[in-house]
């Protein structure tokens, strides 16, 4: 009798915890959005900000600052941060490896390789490279690396081996990049390093639209896969017994994760640690790995984390801007270290 009473209590507590985490994340998102709108190189009074936001009227430069500079940047950081966190969660689940991240399969290295090739080719032949070419090159490079991984995953059933193969793909792409860069003039690839550290600077409403379509659609598909992911977390055999087509599942998981991280890379360049650290933080807060809860929380948490890091990146030393990966590493790496230490502690006690 008492046991039966305890079960509803624990359900209630669990649900209350989930609600508290989601409310907390939503509140954090709201606060960080407000801070991002209010804080910048140019101080704008709050009443002017409100007028611009709700009526789109005001001093021309203030309208431009809020609507063309800050808002697209905030929304892109939120969307792409969410995409990264979700991508990281998928790969950590897939590989059962806590440090698997969105770029562990060589996606960022593939993107950098194709971006370097595009920079050298377009600048030497046309003297100019458009943003569209830069975005397309990054996306193409990401998906090329994904294609290799998918081909290999058909032959490599072992997850650890596949992870190693992904890392090797990254090394190959790096080698090709270094080879090409050797023959290039420094001025041809001077901004390659800066690109490879990531930035949300210069985002437009068109970027927001495209990123929103790609990330929200993909995130929606991931959410629909919550049940098979949940089964997969209990083992491949169990998932198979529950009717999950493992081959198709693996393909879908890698593909969805890659599309999410390729979208981020295309628009903002590779951004480190968000995909590794945020899923761990979320699972700790929720005290569960249930995908149906973790998936939306990861997306929300990734958005909050990225918006916070971007605020620091663009304001800490304004008008100089830090690369976003610098800030996410400073905050994300300690999370990974603490997580590894706790895991070690749990293992030694277990």
């Amino acid at each position: 009798m008492e046991e039966n009473n305890r079960i509803p209590n624990s359900n209630f507590r669990r649900r209350a915890r989930y609600e508290a985490v989601f409310i907390g994340l939503l509140l954090a998102a709201a606060v960080i959005i407000v801070l991002n709108i209010n804080i910048g190189s140019v101080p704008i009074p709050i009443r002017d900000i409100a007028r611009v936001l709700f009526t789109r009227r005001g001093d021309v430069s203030q309208v431009n600052i809020i609507w063309k500079i800050r808002m697209p940047r905030i929304l892109t950081a939120a969307l792409l941060g969410g995409a990264l966190a979700l991508s990281g969660f998928l790969l950590q689940t897939f590989f059962s490896n806590p440090i698997a991240g969105p770029f562990v399969l060589g996606i960022s290295h593939g993107a950098k390789m194709v971006v370097a090739l595009a920079m050298i080719y377009f600048l030497s032949v046309f003297g100019y490279m458009s943003s569209f070419v830069l975005v397309a090159a990054a996306f193409l490079g990401s998906m090329l690396a994904t294609g290799f991984i998918l081909l290999m995953s058909r032959r490599i059933p072992n997850m650890s081996t596949l992870l190693v193969a992904g890392i090797m793909v990254g090394y190959i792409c790096n080698a090709v990049t270094d080879f090409v860069v050797t023959f290039a003039q420094d001025s041809d690839i001077v901004n390659l390093r800066g690109w490879s550290l990531g930035s949300f600077s210069g985002m437009s409403w068109e970027n927001v639209r495209t990123a929103a379509i790609m990330t929200l659609l993909t995130a929606g598909l991931v959410f629909l896969m919550a049940k098979p992911i949940s089964a997969y977390q209990l083992g491949e055999n169990y998932a198979r017994s529950m009717g999950v087509n493992i081959k198709l599942f693996r393909f879908a998981l890698i593909m969805l994760s890659s599309v999410l991280s390729a979208t981020v890379t295309a628009f903002a360049g590779p951004i480190s640690f968000v995909g590794i650290a945020v899923p761990h933080l979320i699972k700790r807060f929720l005290n569960t790995s249930r995908p149906i809860v973790v998936i939306p929380a990861c997306f929300l948490g990734g958005g909050v984390f990225c918006m916070m890091c971007d605020l620091i990146a663009r304001t800490a030393f304004a008008p100089l801007e830090l690369n976003i990966s610098t800030v996410t590493s400073v905050f994300g790496a300690p999370v990974v270290i603490v997580m590894m230490l706790k895991r070690q502690k749990e293992r030694s006690h277990g």
Partner: protein, 394 residues
């Protein structure tokens, strides 16, 4: 009576015809009307702009990467070597209807400029026009143009962030009306897009592609045209190129000179034969020892080579000039130079004391390239005079 009337009528007719016809015989070609500047024949490459009447073209001496065409009403057309064209529209006037959509419109006054092309600062300074610069892409300590650094210290010019990641909010707040970039911005297309999305036209200057070093200095005339200070620009330029009148006919000494640096990985870098420093050596009366080093595309400056390859040529060179700027900076003594490579001690130039160095301040001074030519000339000939950029290792 009838004869008188007929005579009067004939005379009247004659004088009427004379008044109307200009007195010419019907089969003689009409004399050309007096030429006015407004009707001067446009050169073949002067663009025909609907609604605008061509007046004249800017005369240039060395620059080939730009042309400036003047039109009635104060309009100016800038044709740049990369194919980008710009129309300067005077204050209070409109761009002509039917203007090609590829031509970017720059509306005067252009007096709130974001200058990310560092070579331009010395040119604006030389014509006393720092007042039109609102923001730059270098911080005060990084400027070797003293007046620019001082203006930044006083807050008259602000740091607007690096060229690859400008602070767009500051650009908006400062009401920037033009962004002048150099070709490095082509590697950051997102920045160009963003600045233009904010309503600020982007002008990319190509002075680094000028084959003649004084062509770089001549860009002062284009900047002068932008801000309606052509006279000042012309006066400055004419003063700067006086050195050429002196040395243009000077016979080449035949002495070899090499400009080089040793990078952090121990490789040597020399200037390509197309580079403006190499040209300066030739103009000043020397021979570039590495004239065999060529690259396909213009705009490239340094070429890497192994120390072995460098030494094979440098060992017999008459004069060595070390490029002590950037990451190779701080090499202001012979001891420090020889620490970079002991091989240099065997070089003829080092043994004979003809080893010099040039600092990073040179590369921001497009206005003083004639002084660098004079320095190299003095180095080669031993003429007395104070050096502006070259320093001798003791």
């Amino acid at each position: 009576m009838r004869r008188t009337i007929a005579l009067i009528l004939a005379l009247t007719a004659i004088f009427s015809f004379a008044g109307c016809g200009g007195g010419k015989a019907p089969d003689e070609p009409a004399p050309a009307p007096a030429e006015t500047p407004a009707e001067a024949a446009a050169p073949a490459d002067a663009p025909a702009i609907p609604g605008l009447t061509y007046v004249s073209a800017m005369e240039k001496r060395y620059a080939v990467q730009f042309d400036v065409y003047y039109y009635e009403g104060g309009y100016k057309y800038l044709a740049i070597g990369d194919g980008n064209d710009y129309l300067i529209v005077p204050e209070g006037k409109d761009a002509p209807q039917g203007l090609d959509s590829s031509v970017k419109v720059l509306r005067q006054p252009l007096d709130r400029i974001y200058l990310a092309a560092t070579a331009g600062m010395s040119l604006f300074d030389a014509m006393d026009s720092l007042d039109v610069i609102a923001l730059t892409s270098l911080n005060a300590p990084d400027w070797t143009v003293e007046n620019a650094a001082a203006a930044m210290e006083r807050g008259e010019i602000l740091f607007g962030g690096k060229y690859s990641e400008p602070d767009y909010e500051l650009l908006m707040d400062a009401d920037v009306d033009l962004a002048i970039e150099n070709t490095m911005i082509l590697h950051s297309p997102k920045v160009i897009d963003m600045i233009e999305r904010l309503g600020v036209p982007v002008f990319i200057e190509y002075s680094s592609y000028e084959p003649h070093p004084l062509g770089r200095t001549e860009w002062i005339k284009l900047f002068g045209a932008m801000i309606d200070r052509e006279e000042q620009a012309e006066a400055v330029f004419n003063e700067k190129v006086k050195i050429m009148d002196k040395i243009e006919s000077f016979p080449n000494t035949g002495k070899t000179v090499a400009v080089f640096l040793i990078d952090t990985s121990g490789k040597a870098q020399v200037r390509s034969s197309d580079d403006y420093i190499s040209r300066i050596i030739e103009i000043a009366g020397g021979r570039n020892a590495f004239s065999y080093v060529t690259v396909e595309d213009s705009g490239r400056t340094n070429v890497n080579m192994t120390m072995e390859e460098f030494y094979a040529t440098a060992v017999d060179v008459d004069y060595l000039i070390y490029n002590a700027s950037g990451y190779s900076g701080g090499v202001d003594s012979l001891e420090k130079l020889l620490e970079k490579s002991e091989l240099l001690a065997d070089c003829k130039a080092v043994k004979e004391g003809n080893i010099w160095w040039i600092g990073g301040e040179t590369y921001q001074r497009a206005d003083k390239l004639s002084d660098l030519i004079a320095d190299v000339h003095r180095m080669l000939t031993g003429e007395a005079g104070e050096m502006t950029f070259l320093h001798k290792y003791q």
